[in-house]
Each structure stands twice: as structure tokens, then as C-alpha cells.
């Protein structure tokens, strides 16, 4: 009677299945709030994009498309390793789970590394509003607004990544210590949901910031 799933079952739940189900629902509710959290920024961006089409296009042309595309691939790969680690833990291959979680964390760090490289390049090009911003374009005001949104949104996304990577590392360690098995691995399941959501946010950020002004 001392297997992890029994120990982990809290008294307000009847069965392990019920606990997993409610935890999953809880995570999805949290993701709904996250949709609205990023949604506020997306809505503001959409309105200003409609008004300052030209300036926002020019801002988008300042993006580092190669780094951005590579970063997207890196993040999608990390989502794959995350999805696989959830699969492996549910069929009881905990060592594989451990390796896949580590891979996820490493890919996450690579993503952040590339992201901060981009930030550095924007700084060198004097495109950081409030710190060092210069532009000779007739739409400099709109470009600055574009970059305000760019830094707010990718910055918040990066913050979510940092939190996600920390939790992935903790869960990798807990997996190595044998805390999870084929019957009880709800935390990894839920972490997976969070990780994929952060991936989805990036997919949209990539679309609106990098792609829409690419042809210029």
C-alpha cells in the first residue's frame, strides 16, 4: 500500500482517476486564463496593426527571420520530446522519460539563448524602446509601438519558458528518483499541457511578428 499513487492520493478525491481528471481540468482552466492574459496583448496589437499597417510592416522587416525560424523549429522539437516523455512515463519507461525531459529542458534553453541573441541584435540596431531607440523611417512612432509590443509579448513568453524549464528540470530529477510510474504521473501530464501551450503562443508570435512583414 505504499506505491506512489496511493501516497499521492489526497483525501478529497475518491480515486486516482478522479484526481488525474480534475487536475487536468484545473490545468486547462489555467490555460484559459493564459489565453486571456496573452489575449489582451494580441488584441492591442491587432488594433494598432490595423491603424499603423505600414509602420508595423516596417517593424516586422527588422526581425531576424533566420534566427526566428530556427527558434520555431527548436521549440516544436521540444514539444515533441515533451509529448514523448508523457507517453514514455505512461507506459512505465521512466528512464526514457528522464532523458526526454532533459532534452526538453536543453531545447528550451537553446530557444532562450537564440531569443536573447535576437534581443542583443535589436539592441545593436537601436530598436529597444525606452532604452535605445532610433529610426529614420517616416513611421518611426509606429515602429516604436511595434517594438514595444514585440518586447512585451516575447518577453512574457520568455518568462513562461523560464518557468517551464525550471519545472521540467525539477520533474526530470523527480523522475530519476522514481517518484512517477505508469499509474501515477499526473504532474508530468500537466506539465506537458503547459509546455505545449507556451509553444502555441510562440507559433502565433512568430506569425504576427516575423512573417507578416517578411516580403519587404
Amino acid at each position: 500500500m505504499s506505491s506512489p499513487e496511493v501516497l499521492a492520493l489526497r483525501e478529497q478525491y475518491g480515486t486516482a482517476d478522479q484526481q488525474r481528471e480534475i487536475s487536468t481540468i484545473g490545468m486547462w482552466i489555467f490555460l484559459a486564463t493564459e489565453v486571456m492574459f496573452f489575449g489582451g496583448l494580441f488584441a492591442g496589437f491587432a488594433i494598432y496593426r490595423m491603424y499603423y499597417t505600414q509602420g508595423f510592416m516596417e517593424g516586422s522587416a527588422e526581425m531576424e527571420i533566420v534566427l526566428g525560424s530556427v527558434n520555431t523549429a527548436v521549440l516544436i522539437t521540444s514539444s515533441l520530446t515533451m509529448a514523448l516523455s508523457v507517453y514514455k512515463t505512461s507506459i512505465g519507461k521512466q528512464f526514457h522519460t528522464y532523458l526526454l525531459l532533459l532534452a526538453t529542458a536543453v531545447l528550451g534553453l537553446v530557444f532562450l539563448g537564440i531569443k536573447f541573441t535576437e534581443y542583443y541584435l535589436h539592441y545593436q540596431h537601436h530598436k529597444v524602446p525606452g532604452i535605445w531607440f532610433e529610426s529614420t523611417s517616416p513611421h518611426s512612432g509606429a515602429i516604436e509601438l511595434f517594438f514595444v509590443y514585440y518586447f512585451c509579448m516575447t518577453g512574457l513568453h520568455a518568462l513562461h519558458m523560464i518557468i517551464g524549464i525550471s519545472v521540467v528540470v525539477v520533474f526530470a530529477i523527480r523522475t530519476a528518483l522514481g517518484r512517477f510510474n505508469a499509474l501515477y504521473h499526473t504532474p508530468i501530464l500537466i506539465l506537458g499541457l503547459y509546455w505545449h501551450f507556451v509553444d502555441i503562443v510562440w507559433v502565433f508570435l512568430f506569425g504576427i511578428f516575423y512573417i507578416s512583414g517578411l516580403h519587404r
Partner: protein, 347 residues
């Protein structure tokens, strides 16, 4: 002054449209509230608990009754909405022959400029019986122009013009308040509106017109700031000829079209790099920080007052734009709006 007032003064056409609606709502809502109160008090007394272990008759509900008190309020509410929308449109859309007065709000004062040149601070003199349209802008934070006796209120925003109108009916002296919180001396940002008989107003106008009309002030500024060096009125200068500009569509270099209204002219003066007009280089420097909002209004009034170009009346400098191109119609900035061809005093 009496220290107990129970009814507001009513001194505009909108006030006499407003009050019947308001009191009608008071009567309807008051009657329903009273009805509910009487019913509740009656039920509480009539059906008070007489024994500690009393079990009353159980009634689950009645869909018919419930549907009734869902649908009837809905119909009444829609009526209120319709009446409200009608009055709103009346107060939002000024008549075409309105007399225009420019309002600049700043922490914590109202600056009012008449077309004829009178400037006032925290007071506004208007004639009775003539519609007055206020075109308002703020130099700093959001303010709100509020005259209770006229029942009008409109927020005054920085960076963008807003407008409201009224027609005073009773001569007198009325409160002017700032109704949108604007900082420390918000409650001191008050003044008076003086509604005067037309002949008295005429006398007031002649007494105070020391500085010349608003357009002449604008003309002085036009020369003082060197605008005239580039904007020649002969069609041959390095910059667009401004004759007859006001109210016309302007084709810009990027192919889009803008109507040259107050908002557009203000933008051209202030923007670091306004979008250049088709056929012209972008020489225009930004006057942001060099001109106050009232000076911009004077310049705008001056530009309005410049007559049309001789000949066709089609200003060659700004090109002709018989149609709108593409998707850019009227989109210029969150605050901007186009005034397409409704200005009556562009003559």
C-alpha cells in the same frame, strides 16, 4: 446663494429634450421599485412565521409567470434604449450651421477661442438661440467638458479632437466643470458659461476683439514659424500650395488618400515625418513641442480661411482623388477621423 438646490437649471434645447425623458424614467422605475417594495413588505407581514415548526405550502415556480416577467421588462428596456439612442444622436451631431468655438483643456484650466479672435480662460460667452459646436483637444491628460445646465458632457482627449454642441435657450450664468479626473486641482478646473442675448453677445464681441480674429493670429504664426517660406500660394513652391486645401481629399505618396480635416492638418504640423503628399519631397519638419494646441488651432483656422486656388478650384498641389483607393479609407490613427466634406465654413 441658496444652500439647498433640488432641481438643476435647464437652459439648452437639449436640456428640455433631456428632462422629460429623465423624469419619465424616474416615474417608470420609481413605480416598479415601489411596487416591489410594497409587495415585499406586504408578504413579509402577511406571511410572517407564526409557529417555529411551520411548513408553508411549497410552490416550485411557474414558467408562465416567469416568462412574463422576463419578456415585459425586456420590451420596456428596449423602449428605453430607443429613446436614449435618439437623444444621444441629437446631442452628438451638431447642426450644420453651428458656430464653432475651439476649446483647449490643460491641467487645470479651460482655454476657449472664438473664431473672431476672442480668447477666454475658464469663461465662455455664447449667444442664446444659436447652435454652438465645440471642437476640443487636451494638451495633457483626459478632461471632460461638462455644463450641467445644458446637460452636455464630452471627454476632451489629448492628441485628438472631440466635439459636442448645444443651443442655449435662457440667458444666464451656468457652471462649467471638468468631469474627468485630471489631477491635483481637478475640482478647481471649473468656470462659467455666460449665455447672452444675441445683441449683448455682439456687443461683447466688439468689446473684446483686441487681438484680431483667430485666422489672423494663425496668419501671423504662419509667417513667424516660416511656413510661408515653403508653402507658397502660387503653386510653384517646394511644398504643397495650401489654398483651398481644407476639406479636400489629398493623395499621398504611398497611394493612399486622406481628407484634409482638422485632424489631418494637426498631424502634418506635428508629426516627425508626415506621410509626404504625392509629387512632393518630405521637407516638412516637426513642430512638436514648438506649438501649443491653441496655436495649432489658429493655424488650422488660417489654413481654412485661405481662399480656393484660382481657376478650376481643384488644387493642383494636393492632386485630385475622385475615389478612395483600397483599404485605407479613413484610417489614419486611432484618434483620427475624416471629416469628409461636411464642413460648412470652409468657404
Amino acid at each position: 446663494m441658496n444652500s439647498l438646490q433640488l432641481l438643476p437649471q435647464s437652459a439648452s434645447t437639449f436640456a428640455s429634450e433631456y428632462d422629460p425623458f429623465f423624469w419619465c424614467l424616474v416615474v417608470v422605475c420609481g413605480a416598479v421599485t415601489l411596487g416591489i417594495a410594497v409587495f415585499v413588505v406586504y408578504a413579509v407581514i402577511r406571511y410572517r412565521r407564526r409557529r417555529e415548526d411551520e411548513l408553508p405550502e411549497q410552490i416550485e415556480g411557474n414558467y408562465k409567470i416567469e416568462a412574463t416577467w422576463t419578456v415585459i421588462p425586456l420590451i420596456i428596456f428596449l423602449g428605453m434604449f430607443g429613446w436614449g439612442a435618439k437623444t444621444y444622436f441629437d446631442v452628438e451631431a451638431p447642426p450644420a450651421d453651428s458656430m464653432k468655438i475651439y476649446v483647449v483643456a490643460k491641467q487645470w484650466m479651460w482655454k476657449l477661442q472664438h473664431i473672431d479672435g476672442q480668447r477666454e480662460i475658464n469663461t465662455l460667452h455664447v449667444p442664446v438661440g444659436r447652435p454652438v459646436q465645440l471642437i476640443m483637444i487636451s494638451q495633457d491628460v483626459i478632461h471632460s467638458f461638462f455644463v450641467p445646465a445644458f446637460r452636455i458632457k464630452q471627454d476632451v482627449l489629448p492628441g485628438r479632437y472631440t466635439t459636442i454642441w448645444f443651443k442655449a435657450t435662457q440667458p444666464g450664468q451656468y457652471h462649467l466643470f471638468c468631469a474627468e479626473y485630471c489631477g491635483t486641482k481637478h475640482s478647481g478646473m471649473i468656470g462659467w458659461v455666460y449665455a447672452m442675448e444675441p445683441h449683448e453677445y455682439e456687443r461683447w464681441l466688439t468689446e473684446g476683439a483686441a487681438e484680431g480674429s483667430l485666422a489672423s493670429t494663425g496668419e501671423k504664426l504662419f509667417h513667424q514659424f516660416g511656413c510661408a517660406n515653403c508653402h507658397h500660394f502660387d503653386g510653384h513652391g517646394p511644398c504643397p500650395d495650401l489654398r483651398g486645401l481644407y476639406g479636400r481629399p489629398v493623395v499621398l505618396q504611398n497611394g493612399t488618400t486622406r481628407v484634409a480635416d482638422d485632424t489631418y492638418i494637426r498631424e502634418c504640423i506635428l508629426k516627425k515625418k508626415p506621410a509626404p503628399v504625392a509629387g512632393f519631397a518630405d521637407f516638412m519638419p516637426s513642430f512638436d513641442g514648438h506649438l501649443t494646441e491653441d496655436q495649432i488651432l489658429a493655424l488650422t483656422t488660417y489654413i481654412k480661411s485661405i481662399g480656393p486656388q484660382p481657376g478650376t478650384g481643384q488644387p493642383s498641389s494636393s492632386g485630385t482623388a475622385p475615389k478612395n483607393y483600397g483599404t485605407q479609407r479613413g484610417i489614419a490613427g486611432p484618434g483620427a477621423t475624416s471629416n469628409a466634406g461636411t464642413e460648412s465654413d470652409s468657404r
